[in-house]
């Protein structure tokens, strides 16, 4: 275990321009520490902030300078305090100097480890690098970075830099950014540093390697081009699924006071004779049987060993073929990397020559692999070139396993051109499809690809580890909903749909889907349901029933003086009907507004929306009755804006789908809202007031698209 022990210094920019992404940084950094607590408990972590108002580091005491760099924690073994500290990062107030922070981080590693711990010292820098670094006392900034990078390489430290550049950053100081980007590239060329740029919170979560797995080779040896030419290669796993953790089964049988109880459950298998279930057959009297048709053929382990297919450990070239012969869907398993033996210049060169020529000629190599001696099968697969565009990275190959004849089922399907004409798209439909495929673009030119596998975290694992931490603090906590950032992975991007709404509408219009009258159940299945909404709906109904009963028992024994949490609708109506003092009307409207806000704000996966809607409906009715349309209209606009800002857009959708509108002139003469603007409360937050009206209408339309064009 200790062999993989890693020393890491997190260097985080908390300057003002970083505040908007700090929530994601808190999530990803604390997740990394959580995983360390589970998988590598002996790793050591230090933690440096820059862009903070304070200054606290040894260098500033020793040599001066290095302001606004705060060492929040010296390098020590991971613990739970660190998780908590990372979950609530302080917000800084000055633009940070990342180079100062890097030097402080390096200094910490050097002081703690010196020359030891080679290759396991890592800095992890997260910044947007939009603030200039200070000019050095002598030489240029580039010289300075060069010196630091050289020192980093000499100390065999690695550095991962994640540069977070959201949209708004692009408009700020371009010159500074370009300079910083250049300096970063010096790091990546001169030392073992990796620099990645991310443009979305989702990518930020995926960009930081939260679990440090030391890759091991699955094969080291010859890649035999022929009997005469053998190239030394190392083969690694390039992809390997990070599984959902396998949890232990819990036993509560141990006495509650038993402090040493493991609570584990052992699984025991008994092999019983069919004739006599009480007779347990010991291992040496068991023999393996293999199914062959209806027969089961017994073969003892010794026999099996004797007849088994036993190829020699080797990797042999069978030949080259056109890449078009190997279709993508034939790739069968996870992927390996073939890389020249480190330090063996000739082997690296030989692979480089083959990779480059194969890329040029669009060829793949077919190879036969037996990774280990004693492996009972061979693997045939394709090598595809992975040509590096960086001087300090060798050319390599990806290896994908291909199927054998037995693995392929050649089912026949009708040609599309032979399908009946009713199933053939017409010109207009084809055009709509073309536009959709073109415009619903996740890799727009000049921008970063959306959801690239390399930067997309597994939402289930993210959710699991966050829940694990939550449960460690609140054992009875329910599973929190998937947060907005992770939801970007599982659901289409609202922004993207919005931008292409006319294309989407056109597509919808072009393809008319009809239930097949022969299939009855289809009608129900056709309806698109958001996750678990059926259950939730039932919950609502139950809730409503319970409320109804409540309210009957409640019936105005005393005069209502405020709109309460339990029966806001009844309270509100009760108060409005009080004619003893006109102040009750204003108080009722005021209280009701607050209730609605509370309900919406505290909603969990929309569980209170239904109730909020009920309140809103009576409020609207009340405001019309009492001739207070402005109160309601202002409130609705305010609420809508609030929801946009707080990422509660789903509530706005919910309102639209339930036809909640502003009170119009037709309904209440005091209203200033003409009929056609009844829905104009749906305002996108980023739009300024002058183009608010036309856009508001557009927003309204797009809403109807999400809601199934009703």
């Amino acid at each position: 275990m200790a062999r993989n022990k890693e020393a890491l210094v997190l260097v985080l920019d908390v300057g003002p321009s970083m505040h908007s992404v700090l929530p994601e940084i808190e999530k990803v950094c604390s997740l990394m520490i959580q995983k360390k607590l589970v998988f590598s408990r002996y790793d050591e972590v230090g933690f440096v902030l820059f862009g903070s108002a304070d200054t606290k580091n040894e260098l500033t005491e020793e040599v001066g300078g290095y302001e606004h760099v705060t060492v929040l924690r010296n390098i020590k073994v991971v613990d739970e305090d660190l998780v908590d500290a990372l979950q609530s990062l302080p917000r800084g107030s000055v633009p940070g100097d990342f180079l100062d922070a890097i030097v402080v981080g390096m200094d910490m590693l050097i002081k703690k480890f010196g020359q030891t711990n080679k290759g396991k010292k890592r800095l992890c820098l997260i910044t947007n690098a939009v603030s200039p670094i200070k000019d050095p006392f002598e030489g240029t900034k580039e010289d300075q970075v060069n010196t630091i990078a050289t020192q980093m390489a000499a100390q065999s430290m690695k550095m991962d830099c994640i540069i977070v550049r959201m949209k708004q950053d692009w408009e700020t100081n371009r010159r500074v950014m370009e300079e910083n980007d250049f300096l970063m590239s010096v790091f990546s060329n001169k030392s073992s540093s990796k620099v990645v740029y991310v443009e979305s919170p989702t990518s930020l979560l995926g960009a930081l390697r939260t679990r440090n797995i030391l890759p091991v080779t699955i094969y080291r040896g010859d890649f035999e081009i022929s009997a005469q030419l053998k190239i030394k290669v190392w083969v690694y796993k390039k992809t390997s699924e990070e599984k959902f953790p396998i949890l232990k089964k819990y036993s509560d049988k141990a006495h509650p006071t038993d402090k040493f109880a493991t609570h584990e459950i052992k699984v025991d298998y008994e092999y019983q004779s069919i004739e006599d279930p009480n007779k347990v057959v010991p291992p040496d009297q068991r023999i393996k049987g293999f199914q062959y048709g209806p027969q089961v053929v017994p073969i003892s382990s010794a026999e099996l060993e004797a007849v088994k297919f036993k190829p020699e450990k080797s990797v042999k070239l069978l030949g080259f073929t056109d890449a078009t012969n190997i279709m993508r869907h034939y790739y069968l398993k996870d992927v390996n990397s073939f890389i020249g033996e480190p330090g063996n210049k000739k082997a690296i060169l030989a692979l480089s020559a083959l990779a480059r020529t194969m890329k040029e000629m669009n060829k793949v190599a077919i190879v036969r692999c037996v990774w280990r001696q004693g492996q009972g099968n061979v693997v045939v697969g394709a090598l595809t070139p992975n040509v590096s565009d960086k001087d300090n990275t060798p050319d390599s190959f990806y290896f994908n396993v291909l199927p054998f004849a037995e693995d392929v089922r050649e089912f026949q399907f009708p040609s599309f051109s032979n399908l009946p004409s009713s199933m053939q798209p017409n010109e207009k439909q084809q055009e709509a499809a073309d536009k959709l495929v073109q415009m619903l673009d996740l890799a727009p030119p000049g921008k970063q690809e959306v959801l690239p596998p390399d930067f997309t975290p597994n939402p289930v694992l993210e959710r699991y580890y966050r829940y694990l931490d939550l449960k460690s603090k609140h054992p009875d906590a329910a599973v929190p909903p998937l947060d907005e950032t992770l939801r970007k992975i599982t659901e289409p991007d609202v922004e993207l749909l919005f931008r292409n709404k006319s294309i989407i509408e056109e597509f919808r219009r072009s393809f008319e889907l009809k239930d097949n009258p022969k299939m009855k159940k289809s009608a129900r299945r056709m309806k698109e349901r958001p996750s678990g909404s059926d259950e939730e709906r039932e919950e609502f109904d139950k809730d409503a029933d319970a409320k109804a009963i409540d309210s009957m028992e409640y019936s105005s024994k005393t005069k209502v003086e405020k709109v309460g949490d339990v029966n806001p609708v009844e309270d509100f109506e009760e108060m409005l009907s009080r004619r003893d003092d006109p102040k009750w009307i204003n108080k009722a409207i005021h209280d009701m507004k607050n209730r609605i806000f509370d309900l919406v704000e505290n909603s969990y996966e929309g569980d209170t929306f239904h109730k909020a809607l009920e309140c809103l409906v009576v409020l609207r009715k009340g405001c019309i009755l009492e001739q207070e349309p402005k109160q309601f209209n202002d409130f609705l606009c305010h609420l809508s804006k609030f929801c946009q800002e707080k990422d509660l857009r789903s509530f706005c959708q919910y309102l639209t789908s339930n036809d909640i509108t502003l009170i119009t002139k037709a309904e209440a003469p005091d209203s200033e809202i003409p009929e056609h603007e009844a829905r104009s409360f749906m305002v996108k937050p980023e739009l300024d007031s002058q183009n608010m009206k036309p856009e508001a209408k557009v927003e309204n339309d797009i809403m109807s698209i999400y809601l199934g064009g009703k």
Binding site: I287, E303, L482
Partner: protein, 643 residues
């Protein structure tokens, strides 16, 4: 709620998710299949080109296709039941005692039953024995009321009476090269016989039996399905056109074509692709490519060879009490046991609906070669529930092919929610038929958590060598020389699997000799020795390694030396101990680990592990030596002979 959840499904290791899906589906729907093979003299007199440039009769082609499908069926779908029935035969053998019909079978097997090793073996020999035992004879001749085709359908239908149509797919596969079976009859007789035959076929179809025709034709005499069989199969309009397109004119590799059509495609599951909210289409998924593994292992009692029942029980590690109810799970975290209920864990995994949700499109270049984890799943549209879905799918498919883009979607399965790429595949046809069906392949994408930064590990601040233009040129000459033309992905049989099943077959039939299996995956050494290739190889070698390639090679060998030395030492020291005596008197434990390793080294056994492991390894080895010399298991000797 928690009662409905199978805890194993939620917690289990779902490594073989696609496979288990595939196998589960197999057992749910069993197939009952009758091969109805025309054995008329015309089947023997008509020939067509075959694999090895020789010609084969239509009869041979049909027989070979069936033999091949039986072999793959016994491995992949051994629960399916088959029957082989010839019509237009001289001899008769069928329960109805109808003439011209011969149901082929072997002992210990019903006429319609799962394929057995013996059936496969004897069917392989049928050609030699056919003329003697069964014989070929026209069954429909003028002047006789006999109708062999009618009889054949009757017998096949009777065979398929077994099992209910709900739990089993029933099919008749008809192999014939006669497109006009009643062509030599005239007048009322002809009309009458055609009518009764069609009625017989319709009766069968009404009972849920599908009749499929595998016509054999030849270049100058194409099988004309319109003459008679279109009526029998009930083909009209689009269906007829489609059938003709599928079988028409592709006689070059008849066997290949038949093989593809023998297997009925089976849907794995139905998926809903949500394009936008409120707009979704129905897709069927198929497992076209799945690794085949040696079948499941059943533990047997070595005394009786009867299967054993495996009883699983949960035992509390603290109190040894047996636990019944599905327990909670826990993970150690921050020195505490954090508990989870089954429902909570499944809720964690439920990050989306169970559907496939379209997220957008990307150019194909974004799909890298390392974006892969497991076999792809094929999807094909269905209009079964919602009409119009196929049209929408076809439109998207065409756009994606033309614009070279793939769709990204989120597949919200309950056990394995995942991002997937949908890659449109155009239909590819060759002379032997459809090679790639039109549709989309669903490729499971890795997350960043699943991708390892291998290249980064090998970065070197002092820059690493990259090939020069000359080296690339030499490599290019080499690549051109060693070109596998017409390479097809599935051209190799899996040698390990072939070997495994050959051994099983031999053992099942009590054969003495172990069959030889050719390993098709070995490189073509003869080809590589051709002067052109050798020259290109030498030039490439010279350009990269210079003159001293051999030297470096021997350098590497030097590293191996220590093991060899150790081995020699072990051999020397081994003789100094009386191992049998030490073992008998339990004195092995008194030796040091170094000493124990002398034994292991001398016998080429692994030397890793703790002392107890080493001792038990030595004892096991001694046992096996002793045992085999007594010959307690005669099979060992047989196996020892085979390479």
């Amino acid at each position: 709620m928690s009662m409905e959840l199978d805890p194993d499904e939620v917690f289990g290791d779902e490594e073989d998710d696609p496979e288990t899906e595939f196998f589960k589906e197999r057992e749910a729907t069993k197939e009952l299949l009758v091969y109805l093979v025309d054995a008329s003299p015309k089947m023997f007199s008509t020939t067509c080109p075959s694999d090895d440039e020789k010609t084969a009769t239509h009869f041979q082609v049909a027989i070979n296709s069936i033999a091949q499908s039986l072999k793959s069926q016994i491995i992949n779908r051994s629960y399916d039941e088959v029957s082989i029935c010839f019509f237009n035969t001289r001899e008769k053998k069928n329960l109805q005692d109808l003439s011209g019909i011969y149901v082929f079978n072997v002992p210990e097997r019903e006429d319609l039953d799962r394929p057995t090793a013996r059936l496969i073996k004897e069917f392989d020999l049928i050609e030699e024995r056919f003329a003697k035992d069964i014989g070929s004879k026209y069954g429909i001749v003028p002047g006789s009321r006999e109708n062999s085709l009618y009889n054949a359908l009757w017998v096949a239908q009777a065979l398929l009476r077994k099992g209910s149509a709900k739990t089993a797919d029933k099919r008749i596969l008809l192999f014939t090269n006669e497109d006009d079976p009643f062509g030599n009859l005239k007048g009322v007789v002809k009309v009458d016989m055609m009518r009764t035959t069609l009625q017989r076929a319709k009766d069968a179809q009404d009972l849920g039996i599908a009749i499929e025709l595998l016509p054999l034709s030849q270049p100058d005499d194409e099988f004309n399905v319109s003459l008679f069989y279109a009526d029998l199969l009930g083909l009209e309009g689009d269906d007829l056109a489609q059938f003709k397109a599928l079988v028409g004119e592709r006689f070059e590799d008849l066997k290949d074509q038949l093989r593809k059509r023998i297997f009925k495609k089976r849907r794995v599951r139905r998926l809903r692709l949500v394009i936008f909210n409120g707009l979704s289409i129905e897709l069927n998924t198929y497992a076209l490519i799945r690794p085949t593994n040696p079948g499941r292992i059943t533990w047997l009692d070595s005394m009786t060879n009867l299967p054993l029942k495996i009883e699983r029980s949960f035992i509390c590690a603290d109190t040894a009490a047996i636990i019944q109810e599905p327990p909670k799970r826990f993970q150690s975290y921050k020195n505490e046991n954090i508990m989870f209920s089954v429902a909570e864990l499944s809720e964690v995994k439920r990050v989306s609906t169970g559907h496939l949700r379209l997220l957008g499109f990307k150019p194909l270049t974004c799909l890298k070669d390392y974006h892969n984890l497991k076999p792809a799943t094929f999807v094909f549209p269905s209009d079964e529930e919602v009409i119009g879905g196929t049209c929408l799918f076809v439109a998207l498919h065409r756009s994606m092919v033309r614009l070279k883009r793939f769709a990204v979607a989120f597949y919200g399965s309950s056990s394995h929610p995942q991002l997937v790429a949908l890659v449109a595949q155009e239909e590819i046809m060759t002379s032997s038929g459809q090679v790639e069906p039109p549709g989309m392949h669903l490729i499971y994408l890795p997350y960043s958590d699943d991708i390892r930064p291998i290249e980064e590990l090998h970065t070197d601040p002092n820059s690493v060598p990259h090939a020069t233009d000359d080296q690339i040129k030499k490599a290019s000459a080499l690549v051109k020389r060693i070109d596998l033309k017409d390479f097809s992905v599935c051209q190799f049989a899996n040698p390990a699997l072939q070997r495994h099943y050959a051994v099983l077959q031999a053992l099942a039939l009590d054969e003495d000799e172990m069959p030889e299996i050719k390993d098709e995956t070995l490189p073509d050494e003869e080809g590589m020795a051709r002067p052109g290739i050798v020259k290109a190889l030498e030039e490439f070698k010279l350009s990269v390694y210079g003159e001293n390639y051999e030297e470096e090679d021997s350098n590497i060998e030097g590293k191996v030396e220590p093991t060899r030395k150790r081995k020699a030492n072990a051999m020397k020291e081994y003789g100094n101990y009386d191992w049998a005596d030490l073992a008998d008197n339990g004195k092995l434990k008194d030796l040091t680990v170094v000493e124990l390793k002398y034994y292991l080294g001398a016998h080429n056994l692994p030397v890793t592990g703790k002392k107890e492991v080493l001792i038990s390894r030595i004892l096991t080895h001694m046992d096996s030596l002793g045992a085999s010399s007594y010959g307690w298991h005669p099979c060992i000797e047989i196996f020892a002979q085979c390479p």
